[in-house]
């Protein structure tokens, strides 16, 4: 009798355990392996400043593209294709960027390129890529002329079919900053400084135009030499001008020391810049006096987007040494746009890459649309991102703090 009871209990426990197991199990047949096992290798080129003053931003770009390819391989997102990256260092120099473009074109496995950081570098690369029908997606170029032509303010005309970007343009960023500085920060007299480069001068121009339209006064303008770190002469001019704010078109390696030296000259006024100064390194270079300085940057704060949480977690899990910085989310989305375009081309060709894959990827890119890290990713007729968001940040407690976000819906 006892034996029967034991056998019955054992059977019941076994049945229960099997039920528990059955309830908890999931068909994992669809899961991927850790690496792509595709037969075809597709290389996504990366061009960014990986050394030098701007390397903090450049390494964030490279790592984020690397992460996108790893995720695509792990998920076997494109059947039969394994993605790899080839990252080249442009040192922030247009001439180096152009050489890199030629190298990437020569590698037949490269079907798309993410980068560069600097608009001036992008300008030098565009023609090389377009001639080779190789798609380029910049996560960071903001100069309007790159997509809308040099006469963009009067008549927009797309110069290169192969060039796309996920970042918002300075046609919006400059006026966005001017609106904030004039209306919200209540600053009426600005001293405008730029570094004479494509990005910096262009951004300063769009800021100035809107600031004047709003009724603001430009009390002085100066250009600086980006190779220099001594801005004491300009700082003195700012002090003597009576300006209540400085707008700087340029990047953080110069903006940090410039802000510091302006305050040291006795002008206790905020320095405002664009996405080029939105870096942790700006805060280090500007020092304690930089508290209250402002920057606009493209997009909403990545940390505030639920869509970005997975990116942030995956980036951390990969153990990259460098932060993803201002353009990490946009770089991931740029790479993923290329992956989506490759997927479309492969699927439209019976699962194989066609001979004219590069040209087909350019065509496919125009219709790419997906929920990315930074929101909905798609491109308008000029190759510009349709998602046009901007955020104002201020230096507070040794970090950048969000002040105001805006969306362009025009």
């Amino acid at each position: 009798m006892r034996q029967r009871s034991l056998i019955a209990i054992t059977a019941a426990l076994a049945a229960g355990a099997l039920t528990l197991t059955a309830c908890g199990s999931r068909d994992d047949n669809g899961g991927g392996s850790d690496s792509g096992n595709g037969d075809t290798t597709v290389v996504i080129g990366v061009d960014a400043p990986l050394t030098g003053d701007l390397s903090a931003l450049g390494l964030g770009i490279k790592n984020s593209v690397d992460l996108a390819t790893k995720i695509a391989n792990k998920e076997k997102y494109v059947e039969g294709v394994t993605f790899k990256i080839e990252a080249l260092d442009d040192q922030g120099q247009a001439s180096v960027g152009q050489q890199n473009a030629t190298k990437l074109v020569a590698n037949k496995d490269v079907l798309g390129v993410v980068g560069p950081l600097n608009s001036s570098v992008g300008e030098a690369m565009q023609k090389v890529f377009d001639t080779a029908k190789l798609v380029e997606v910049s996560p960071a170029n903001t100069n309007p002329a790159l997509t809308q032509g040099v006469n963009w303010a009067k008549e927009k005309e797309r110069p290169y079919k192969s060039y796309f970007r996920t970042a918002t343009t300075d046609a919006i960023q400059g006026p966005f900053a001017a609106q904030y500085v004039f209306n919200d920060a209540k600053k009426k007299k600005v001293f405008v400084i730029d570094d004479k480069k494509t990005y910096g001068a262009g951004l300063a121009a769009t800021f100035t135009a809107e600031f004047k339209k709003l009724g603001g006064q430009v009390v002085g303008t100066e250009h600086i030499n980006p190779e220099s770190k001594d801005f004491s002469a300009v700082a003195t001019k700012v002090k003597n001008s009576g300006a209540d704010v400085v707008y700087y078109g340029g990047e953080y390696p110069q903006a940090g020391p410039l802000s510091k030296q302006i305050k040291e000259a006795g002008a206790k006024i905020p320095l405002v810049g664009g996405d080029g100064i939105y870096s942790a390194d700006f805060i280090k270079l500007a020092g304690a006096a930089g508290a209250g300085d402002l920057a606009t940057s493209v997009g909403a704060p990545v940390e505030s987007l639920p869509s970005a949480k997975e990116f942030v977690a995956n980036y951390k899990a990969e153990g990259y040494k460098d932060a993803y910085e201002a353009y990490g989310g946009y770089s991931y989305d740029s790479a993923w746009a290329i992956i989506e375009a490759v997927k479309k081309v492969v699927e439209d060709n019976d699962g194989k890459l066609p001979d004219d894959a590069r040209a087909k990827v350019v065509d496919a890119m125009q219709d790419v649309s997906f929920d990315g890290v930074t929101g909905q990713v798609s491109f308008d007729e000029f190759g510009d991102a349709t998602n046009k968001q901007l955020t104002v940040y201020t230096v507070k407690g040794g970090d950048w703090a969000t002040v105001k976000s805006g969306t362009f819906t025009g």
């Binding site: 987007l305 976000s405 969306t407 025009g410």
Partner: protein, 203 residues
């Protein structure tokens, strides 16, 4: 059908059970032998039960958990505003005014409440019809007429290139202030409306 990549290792040689040797003692069959057998069976059954329980519990607690529901988005990520048209009215009122119409759209199934609509320019004040707070249904749209009263022509943005509209939104996730830049056509129409509204008034 999918097959697992790693199976049991095939054993070498004959795997049949061996017969007992011919001179092996016969097993005991007395009362004490029965007791021993019963104890063995009891111990074996208990061991099996515990093993099954432990295995089941392990599988249960380490089973793949269902994905948590996706976190809802901030209201500014699901809501957009489009400028539709401007209507300039000459009402002869002490403070000139004009009206423009916008369309609020939500891109998720969660409704959004518009708590307030304002603009950052000194010299202008806004009211809306319907009045705020107003609700926009999930995956829906709603037209809103905004009346602009010019309180001080000299401080109104006569020529703004990308004028802002500031909106306070709320959904189940958060309450959020956000700016919308309605574009070049809105900017042009706003400038024209301000010119008409203010005319030759003191700037």
């Amino acid at each position: 059908m999918a097959v697992s990549g790693i199976g049991p290792v095939e054993p070498d040689g004959d795997t049949r059970p061996l017969d007992p040797p011919p001179d092996a003692p016969h097993p005991r069959s007395g009362p004490s032998a029965r007791t021993t057998r019963r104890h063995r069976r009891t111990a074996a059954a208990t061991f099996l039960a515990l093993a099954v329980l432990a295995g089941g519990a392990l599988l249960h607690f380490t089973r793949p958990r269902p994905e948590p529901p996706p976190e809802s988005r901030f209201p500014s990520q699901t809501t957009s505003f489009r400028y539709l048209y401007m209507q300039v009215r000459n009402t002869g009122a002490r403070s000139p005014e004009f009206e423009f119409t916008i369309q609020a759209l939500t891109e998720s199934d969660a409704p959004v409440t518009v708590l307030g609509i304002s603009q950052p320019y000194a010299g202008l004040s806004l009211t809306s019809t319907p009045a705020t707070p107003l609700r926009v249904n999930g995956d829906g749209s709603r037209k809103i007429a905004v009346t602009v009263r010019v309180t001080e022509c000299g401080r109104a943005p006569r020529n703004a290139g990308l004028p802002f509209m500031d909106v306070t939104l709320r959904n189940t996730r958060a309450k959020e202030a956000h700016s919308y830049i309605l574009g070049a056509r809105y900017a042009r129409d706003l400038s024209t409306a301000l010119e008409v509204a203010c005319g030759n008034r003191n700037r």
